[in-house]
């Protein structure tokens, strides 16, 4: 079975509500989670805006899907790579992002952070290490 596991990277480069890309990406991630692949999510450029705290869409009539990111750990999606340069360019820091954790069943269900802030060069390395890249 293990030789059938491929590395999938979902690349998110769009802000959450101006277009449908961000929501569609999340939907595909959730669907794809059923296939037991090695899944990572990348957030760069305006994609970093998807993970901000405090999103409130009540008055724009669309679903606030940001809490769904906190459920990804239950689907064994535990690697959310966020590019530091993209945060910096937008005046954001890690503190502006939601706390997203996963429970490590091999470590007494300890909660571990899913978000990993990485450099642009590290992001390039991660992209180059994938079998499949899905872009949104």
């Amino acid at each position: 079975m293990s030789e059938d596991i491929k590395k999938f990277l979902y690349v998110n480069r769009k802000a959450p509500y101006g277009t449908i890309y961000a929501l569609e990406s999340l939907e595909v991630v959730l669907i794809g989670a059923a296939f037991d692949q090695d899944v990572s999510l990348a957030f760069l450029d305006d994609g970093v805006f998807q993970l901000t705290k405090g999103q409130d869409t009540k008055e724009i009539g669309v679903k606030n899907f940001s809490p769904t990111f906190r459920a990804l750990g239950d689907y064994e999606v535990t690697k959310l790579f966020v590019e530091r340069e993209s945060l910096d360019e937008r005046g954001l820091s890690a503190d502006d992002l939601q706390d997203i954790v996963w429970e490590d069943e091999d470590d007494d269900y300890a909660e571990k952070p899913s978000i990993r802030i990485i450099s642009r060069a590290e992001m390039a390395d991660i992209m180059a290490d994938q079998d499949v890249i899905l872009s949104f």
Partner: protein
């Protein structure tokens, strides 16, 4: 292990092309398609950034998209290779993965 990157937006409308070339690894190929081909002209505010990577990354433009937009071939940035549809397929087949910069 190399990647084919495709860019289909004008570099004057989005940051996709600049982000792409900032993440492409040496030995990768960047193919400008659709409105991405506007990035292939010389004398623009993205020319220098492209030229800086031209030695390490193969820069290509989809010829039919370039021609369709009336862009002058003699103003194409030095070092950019024009490919046709068959060339696009060739690139997709010869690289390990394809990454679309939407």
């Amino acid at each position: 292990m190399a990647t084919l990157h495709t860019v289909n937006k004008s570099p004057f409308a989005t940051g996709a092309l600049l982000s792409c070339i900032a993440h492409a690894k040496d030995g990768d190929t960047v193919l400008m398609i659709e409105d991405g081909v506007y990035g292939a002209s010389s004398g623009t505010n993205v020319s220098d950034a492209l030229t800086a990577r031209a030695g390490s990354v193969t820069l290509c433009v989809l010829g039919p998209d370039f021609a369709a937009r009336g862009l002058a071939t003699d103003r194409m940035l030095d070092g950019i290779k024009s490919v046709d549809y068959a060339g696009f397929v060739e690139l997709a087949a010869s690289n390990d993965r394809t990454q679309a910069w939407l």
